[in-house]
């Protein structure tokens, strides 16, 4: 498939009708968290869009981010690769191996100098280059070489975005985030452990559609997906406002689906789109399944105290972090936290 063909031409060649294209544009608007009124603009832009070359680098990671990407439903990974991007290098998905794979990376860089996207999952170890190498090249050297001619770099997952689990205390490999190393290019962070698959594809689709990167927050995350907390969009929020909390995982509150704040939910301080985009083709998300949010899309989530400690008792700087929550909710939350602390102290004492 030619990289010079526009998306409109590709879909037309595949026999996709205009109605089909309008459907594609409607789901793209939904994916980009844009209002449906933007569909005509998206249609116009997508019709003339050309597939960008994408080079995906994997460093200190667990492949969970790629596993997540393969679960994307809109667009599907196959649809993304065949229609929207030219995925020229990806360890898990490419057919080439060894020298041929590295040659493909170099060829993509040369052919698309200044215009290709580099996606990275995993953190980069600075402690010793030998901690993680690919084809005899250290992660640091491969990143710097590949990013040099890129239009932008996208850090996929909390390891690439913030150091993640490899960077957790005591950080034995000296792991750092991509933004710590790349300062002369735009770097978009798409954190999560793993990130929501449609958020990964949305960043690529945004670049394809409008030729530009999304608006970012202070942590480099796209505002469209990380602009609100899990708590703000949680369907259990009304229970928080009413002061109705699950105290344990098997009490009446848990059975009735009450707020999980006292069981350690990090929803109030976690910015992500799980509460609306959900997982597994929109089936549910952790809170809907009865488990507190772990806060995996926030910097250093692994080192912020116990997952099951209420926000106000974990080492999060609770007061300031909770400032965005509704005043009434904060008051209720603080009261709940105090009760929880007393309960925990009682448990420890009795134990």
């Amino acid at each position: 498939m030619s990289k010079t063909q526009t998306l409109g031409e590709i879909l037309q060649a595949r026999g996709v009708s205009r109605r089909g294209f309008m459907k594609y544009c409607a789901t793209t608007a939904s994916l980009l968290a844009l209002p449906p009124s933007m569909v005509p603009h998206i249609a116009n832009a997508l019709e003339h869009a050309r597939r960008p070359s994408v080079i995906w680098l994997s460093f200190q990671e667990c492949t969970g981010c790629t596993e997540s990407l393969t679960r994307s439903a809109s667009p599907t990974l196959e649809g993304l690769i065949f229609d929207s991007i030219s995925l020229d290098y990806h360890h898990t998905l490419q057919a080439a191996s060894g020298d041929a794979a590295e040659a493909a990376r170099h060829a993509a860089m040369e052919e698309n100098m200044g215009n290709y996207l580099v996606l990275v999952d995993g953190s980069v170890p600075l402690g010793n280059p030998g901690f993680s190498t690919i084809a005899g090249t250290s992660n640091y050297d491969m990143l710097m070489e590949t990013a040099k001619g890129a239009a932008a770099v996208v850090a996929i997952g909390s390891c690439a975005a913030f150091g993640g689990i490899p960077g957790a205390d005591p950080n034995p490999t000296g792991a750092v985030a991509i933004r710590d190393l790349i300062s002369d290019k735009p770097v978009v962070n798409v954190p999560g452990c793993p990130p929501i698959p449609m958020v990964i594809t949305a960043v690529l689709t945004q670049f394809l559609t409008f030729g530009q990167l999304p608006e970012l927050d202070k942590h480099g995350r796209p505002v469209a997906f990380f602009g609100q907390t899990i708590h703000d969009r949680c369907y259990r929020r009304p229970f928080y406002e009413q002061g109705l909390f699950a105290e344990t995982f098997d009490d009446e509150g848990a059975r009735k689906g009450w707020c999980l704040y006292k069981l350690g939910c990090k929803g109030p301080i976690t910015y992500n789109a799980c509460a609306t985009m959900k997982w597994n083709q929109g089936t549910s998300f952790p809170i809907e399944s009865g488990h507190p949010c772990l806060g995996c899309s926030e910097p250093d989530f692994w080192d912020k105290g116990g997952f099951y400690n209420p926000v106000s008792t974990a080492s999060l700087g609770g007061g300031a972090a909770l400032a965005g929550a509704a005043a009434a909710g904060v008051a209720l939350g603080a009261a709940a936290a105090a009760l929880s602390r007393r309960r925990q102290a009682k448990i420890i004492k009795e134990g």
């Binding site: 205009r18 109605r19 309008m22 459907k23 939904s30 439903a73 809109s74 369907y235 985009m277 809907e288």
Partner: protein, 136 residues
Amino acid sequence: MTSLDNINVQIHQSHGNVEPLLNEVMHAIDRLLEAEEPTVIDLASLPFGPGELERLEERLGRGELRAELDALGASHIRETAYPGVWWLEHRNTAGDVVGRYLEITRTPEILMSQDADILAGRARLGEMLELKEARQ
């Protein structure tokens, strides 16, 4: 058991997200009647609790018209029990739901024949007639 759908789960609890949306729909109907202004509500952007989407669908009910579109996967388009309020569900080629919308309009745009398709169809019809003429 072959799928998650077969697990017998009954949800009786409401999380209070359906009523406000129904009010929004009513205001959208007013805008359509008074100013011919259509509204599209992307249901994927709303924080529904377990069972609430199904409850919304049930409350809106089914009207007298429904259509199926086969383009990049199936799409189901049907008017609800409230004329002018349409429920649209888009699926991909694997059958996964990729978009759910409420459209408050006289006819959803996607049901209209598009100029590009009409032109392509006209060209195909022309070619077929020429071919038939050449054979005779």
